[in-house]
């Protein structure tokens, strides 16, 4: 379950996790805190590990050695490429939306 701060949210859990790990390896709680700070979205533990497990299965993130209860994760090269591609799409969308807004409501 993702608790949203507003209705026009743009994030989905896998993307938010990849975005959080772009800043460096983090364990589960650090990801939850980072996503809450950066996106205003509170991810539940089941949602986080459901998404994290699928990302790990697809090879987009990997677990690092560490405490079994607070294992850190990092982006793989494939994960970084997938995130970069998605962020570029989002960036284009944002630029277009902002340009249209400023043209219609100068």
């Amino acid at each position: 379950m993702v608790r949203r701060a507003d209705q026009l949210t743009w994030g989905n859990p896998p993307l938010l996790i990849l975005g959080s790990l772009a800043g460096g390896p983090k364990h589960g709680y650090a990801i939850v805190q980072d996503v809450a700070e950066q996106a205003g979205i509170t991810m539940g533990p089941g949602t986080l590990y459901g998404a994290l497990s699928r990302l790990e299965e697809r090879g987009l993130v990997e677990a690092l050695p560490g405490d079994e209860r607070r294992r850190p994760y990092r982006l793989t090269a494939e994960g970084a490429a997938a995130l970069s591609e998605r962020l570029a799409d989002m960036s284009r969308f944002a630029r277009t939306g902002l340009a249209r807004l400023s043209a219609a409501h100068p």
């Binding site: 589960g28 539940g44 533990p45 986080l48 497990s53 299965e57």
Partner: protein, 278 residues
């Protein structure tokens, strides 16, 4: 509550993420939202299981989970057969025409075929996995199987006792005493427990044994036969219930059979490619 919800996740998920998930719940705190989140997360993990790790280990876990899912589905499907049979034919409902009777009785040979595949799969696993493990001193594999074994003996003795009572005192049978009714109810509770332990025990033992894929290949092929039987059984029962009048008990029985068949089919479709892989 949290421990119960965490226990609802599939074993493979708990093995890999259970400790981290529990630590995160400790850090973030629990509450109704977290309970709901964990419950939906557990349901999602069962519906679309995730297997991480080295490719060989992922394949092994996939096949192991497929065998476990098929076994649980088979136990559920088997349970539904007498329920539908009794609900439609004992006494016959008004809609129980020849076609319905044929469908309901036609389930039993399918049950025997599926049972033969299930027994074959279990025997191969016992021969290739359980016996070698026991020879090397792995008694922990027996523990999950013991409750079902004990209950099986108790229930068989109980059924034999009831049958003897019925034979010895036929005139008393239509008006049983309260003590006798209580005994029969206890037998039924024991039967339900036997079903639950019988369904859960072998998958737990299999998980503890961690057998290689090679040992599970033939059982997985036989499990595909179990799935086919389960699918045929579900189709026959659902059709019989639709034709024979949809009483609540018969409908529930057929719904359980259909759910079990769908679960087994989904699992088998995902398992077979893993078994084929060299």
């Amino acid at each position: 509550m949290i421990r119960l919800l965490l226990a609802c996740y599939p074993p493979s998920f708990r093995d890999r993420y259970g400790a981290e998930l529990a630590a995160l719940v400790e850090d973030t705190g629990a509450g109704p939202r977290v309970w709901w989140d964990l419950a939906t997360g557990a349901a999602g993990a069962w519906l679309r299981p995730v297997f991480v790790g080295a490719p060989a280990e992922r394949t092994r876990r996939r096949v192991q989970a497929g065998l476990a899912a098929t076994w649980v589905a088979w136990c559920l499907g088997v349970l539904a057969v007498p329920v539908v049979d009794r609900a439609l034919l004992d006494p016959p409902v008004p809609g129980a025409n020849g076609a319905v009777r044929t469908l309901v009785t036609g389930v039993w040979p399918v049950l025997v075929l599926g049972g033969a595949c299930a027994a074959g799969s279990a025997l191969v696993l016992a021969w290739r996995v359980l016996l070698p493990a026991l020879r090397s001193g792995r008694r922990d594999l027996l523990r999950p199987l013991l409750p079902a074994a004990v209950l099986l003996v108790v229930e068989a003795l109980g059924a034999a006792g009831v049958w003897q009572l019925r034979r010895a005192y036929p005139s008393v049978w239509p008006h049983p005493s309260a003590a006798f009714v209580a005994l029969v109810l206890a037998w039924l509770v024991g039967f339900a427990a036997l079903g639950a332990f019988g369904a859960a025990g072998p998958p737990v033992a299999l998980r503890r044994a961690r057998p290689p894929v090679a040992a599970m290949r033939l059982p997985a092929v036989l499990a595909a036969g179990v799935t086919l039987a389960l699918a045929a059984l579900a189709v026959l029962e659902a059709t019989a219930v639709v034709l024979g009048g949809r009483g609540p008990v018969a409908s529930t029985g057929a719904a359980v059979a259909v759910l079990a068949a769908v679960g087994a089919l989904l699992s088998t479709v995902r398992t077979i490619p893993a078994v084929r892989r060299p």
